[in-house]
Symmetry: D2
Subunit: 309 residues, 4 copies
Amino acid sequence: MTTNATTSFQPVLDRIAEEIAELTDRGTPADYIPALAAGDPTDFGMAVAELDGTVYGVGDWRRPFSTQSVTKVFTLALALAGEGDALWAHVGREPSGDPFNSLVQLEYENGIPRNPFINAGALVVTDRLHRLTGDASGSLLGFLRAESGNPDLAFDTDVAASEAAHGDRNAALAHFMASYGNITGPVPDLLREYFRQCSLEASCADLALATGFLARHGLRADGSRLLTRSQAKQVNAVMLTCGTYDAAGDFAYRVGLPGKSGVGGAVVAVVPGRCTLCVWSPGLDDRGNSVAGVTALDRFTTITGLSVF
Amino acid sequence: MTTNATTSFQPVLDRIAEEIAELTDRGTPADYIPALAAGDPTDFGMAVAELDGTVYGVGDWRRPFSTQSVTKVFTLALALAGEGDALWAHVGREPSGDPFNSLVQLEYENGIPRNPFINAGALVVTDRLHRLTGDASGSLLGFLRAESGNPDLAFDTDVAASEAAHGDRNAALAHFMASYGNITGPVPDLLREYFRQCSLEASCADLALATGFLARHGLRADGSRLLTRSQAKQVNAVMLTCGTYDAAGDFAYRVGLPGKSGVGGAVVAVVPGRCTLCVWSPGLDDRGNSVAGVTALDRFTTITGLSVF
Amino acid sequence: MTTNATTSFQPVLDRIAEEIAELTDRGTPADYIPALAAGDPTDFGMAVAELDGTVYGVGDWRRPFSTQSVTKVFTLALALAGEGDALWAHVGREPSGDPFNSLVQLEYENGIPRNPFINAGALVVTDRLHRLTGDASGSLLGFLRAESGNPDLAFDTDVAASEAAHGDRNAALAHFMASYGNITGPVPDLLREYFRQCSLEASCADLALATGFLARHGLRADGSRLLTRSQAKQVNAVMLTCGTYDAAGDFAYRVGLPGKSGVGGAVVAVVPGRCTLCVWSPGLDDRGNSVAGVTALDRFTTITGLSVF
Amino acid sequence: MTTNATTSFQPVLDRIAEEIAELTDRGTPADYIPALAAGDPTDFGMAVAELDGTVYGVGDWRRPFSTQSVTKVFTLALALAGEGDALWAHVGREPSGDPFNSLVQLEYENGIPRNPFINAGALVVTDRLHRLTGDASGSLLGFLRAESGNPDLAFDTDVAASEAAHGDRNAALAHFMASYGNITGPVPDLLREYFRQCSLEASCADLALATGFLARHGLRADGSRLLTRSQAKQVNAVMLTCGTYDAAGDFAYRVGLPGKSGVGGAVVAVVPGRCTLCVWSPGLDDRGNSVAGVTALDRFTTITGLSVF
């Protein structure tokens, strides 16, 4: 299904990799858990997947890493597919203007998180999906294995345990929303599901392929429909306005594509109707986005003109 | 230059106008100044301008109205053209997550407004443009007359006086930013310029044409360059993430185009590389955007598929 | 030890009780747990204890009720006695200007609660006392039995369980502060201790006597020293500026005494060097203070002139 | 009227002055206007006035300095005397928990400042007094001359002009409240009155005498009544809970008296029924209160036991 043959995107990726190799300031890995703190900012991988599943890559594009918040895209898509617009009664779709783990906004808006990509919103979405399926992290894993064509995708239990050990802030968010009635299940169960999802290991190739349904207007790799065309548009819109923590405006301005980043150093991006991308490099800027990753995407849209703007 | 001949967009506009005629809940006009409070929510006009200046329209598409915050797009473009990236030291480009005239964010971020489309940001941009040109509102008027091909465009001095009489909140914003050194000129002069800009009268046809440079990647109607391709992309990105007050996420989700609204009931939108739109209807929703206007744009992108997502 | 003999305070109490009987708007009992929601706003009791333990009372002054946040005074005193000024590294002593269970302030001040009487602050104080003694609620109970001379004082396990079942907001506060390293023990243990303390049942007579050390400049009922003179002054100062939720200024203005209220309807107050008071009536105002209770204290200071101002 | 004879308070003042002379860290003068920035932190003066007008002093106790926010006490008293409880519809009496010139609180509470001693509140009180008298600063000056017995008290027009030149933050506050209808007169007039009041020059002796009405339960120096006993208590309560910026709790805890500080380095304090104090030293701590001034008051209450707690 995947190939590295010399076709249209390969020269672009090669050129970007050369440019990124010159990059001197590559940021700092996340340090709140040991598994991430050990990341090497000089590592770099990038993959582009076409609508038919053809994948191009460069650097460490087949090497698994900790996906972290990138999985929030897939959890959102699965919950939206299962629950439809009723989901939006529990989580908003506006940018937050606050740090990703802020409680202030929640307090002013009665426990309804501003969007599905801040931690509070992702907790709510996980709670909804768990309620729908009885197994949120299992549903996520099954979906990602199917879309990437990689049956070896798995959670990293050490990372999940490490997240849980540093999970007081997320526990606070969950209990706080529960106090407003916006969490349905027991908080400890929810946190376990949430931290498992964050711990998923996958490669740039895996994530570029798995994101394909957003470029195919809702169709999965096997041609079946996960989301309506309108819902796929909705997820892309939320990614563009809220996908990169408190730097969504800057990302839209520089990259101009729907995207979602994670503190493991990955960023996925969507060119609707054309292709999907995943780039990975563990060094982060002060807003939690991969320095080399955002730079590579910026170069990609500049070179190819494939921005939505 | 303009025509109403039966070409591609006319049937779409006619269909949308029919649908909008059925709309029962059309919102409420802004009521903070008499000129706006007199607006009739059943009024409706819509225009589409192609890259070459061909314009299609329906309803009151040639009738002038108070453009209000829609002019912030043009002021931003002129300031960015004149000052370049140095502009971004004085105003951010992130969504605010707060109401359009909030002072809270300013206090936490030392007088730097989050983006050019909240009132504080527009005051800063006007101050920069006034500093560059010595005549911010004159520059704006000249640009809009040239792009729209309408030499009769003018400010409404009654509206400007009315805005000034209700201008304590904007005066507070300007003095507050001045206390941080982020306003260079005298506050009373700045306010006069600002309120003049808000008072511009123009029609859907005028505004659709005047927005054309954003669909032409920075080129003006006469083919000369106002913005670099990258700067045009930047303005579109800021419109998409910040152009509709505290409903930017919702607008991206429903319409999926860069857009900017005003409390006079107008909304402009850009389909990069293809066309620009302006719709007008005075009834607003509770976040200050035209109810019929957003609905019409939503229908337009759904019918034509011309969303960026 | 106690007496109801006809001495100086009895006529004042009798007069106040008569006036309170005329009070028509008596507020509404707290309704977040069933045990409190069942309260009757027409119930009323008041007691005054002189420095030597002489007690005067009127109404239901010997009837036990749920003391709730009134116990925060005693927990603070015990923690301050045990830890000294080092306590103030973990909790501030400034009024909060926010609701008693707000998370906003915590976020802006890095997990250090503004004072010991908002819920977050009381959780920290309980955590410190539990760390010092290994049994925070046991220490509290022992102290209160000794000072009141009432060996039957006890926690109400139903109320404690009910509090725990509605405890998500407090769990959020505790986890949030733990994320800043400002909680030393396991959060579930802390919550159990905290909810037990809230559930203490005591009467006006019990609480007036137990508060006596604050009027005796730090000396316990048996003459031994709990707090230094300076520490007793500190606790009184914190009560005056922070003891009645978001109405401390209003309480100082009307009553003019250090005081502490609880949502069970009790309020204790201190006339340094002279006497202590406890009043109880379950109807609360919209800021959580007993309507009849504050009115009775207001009348007491007006009639006797025993305000600190 | 005043005397320096050897009576009860003189030895205490002498002892305090000796201790203060040893103080090494004396803070930093306010630097936002030149007149204050030139202050010398080693300057120190202190005065105590008894109820009958007997004054004791030490150090620079007769030297005039810029009174700044200390005048807010007198403006409040005059407005309360003129308008009665209706004043409290325009300004609250709760501690703010925010910096003295914050706009955040105003926004959440619809333009009603939390108390009369934050800048927003003092602007409102000045507006009310100006409305009542037609000459707010003239009323203030007349009152202070009468109470101090010093006909030479005057405003410093250079300081007032300097304040106005750095007055954008206060202009923002005034316009912001005007946008909520909580300022009745033209903002420029209000600002002129406000800055004049801040510029008053007076000595420790002058201010200790002028504050006497608060220790005399509302009676002026000539025995006439300015405030009811209840109103005097109200002003004292507001001073205790709100008089020292964001350090009111700390001041209550250390000093235990109603007090009001100014960035010129003065602090006045009241021992109800006994005496009033004024201390001055220009070095401020990071919350804007005189370091030597608060230390001296702390020593005074510790040595004399004259705290309200």
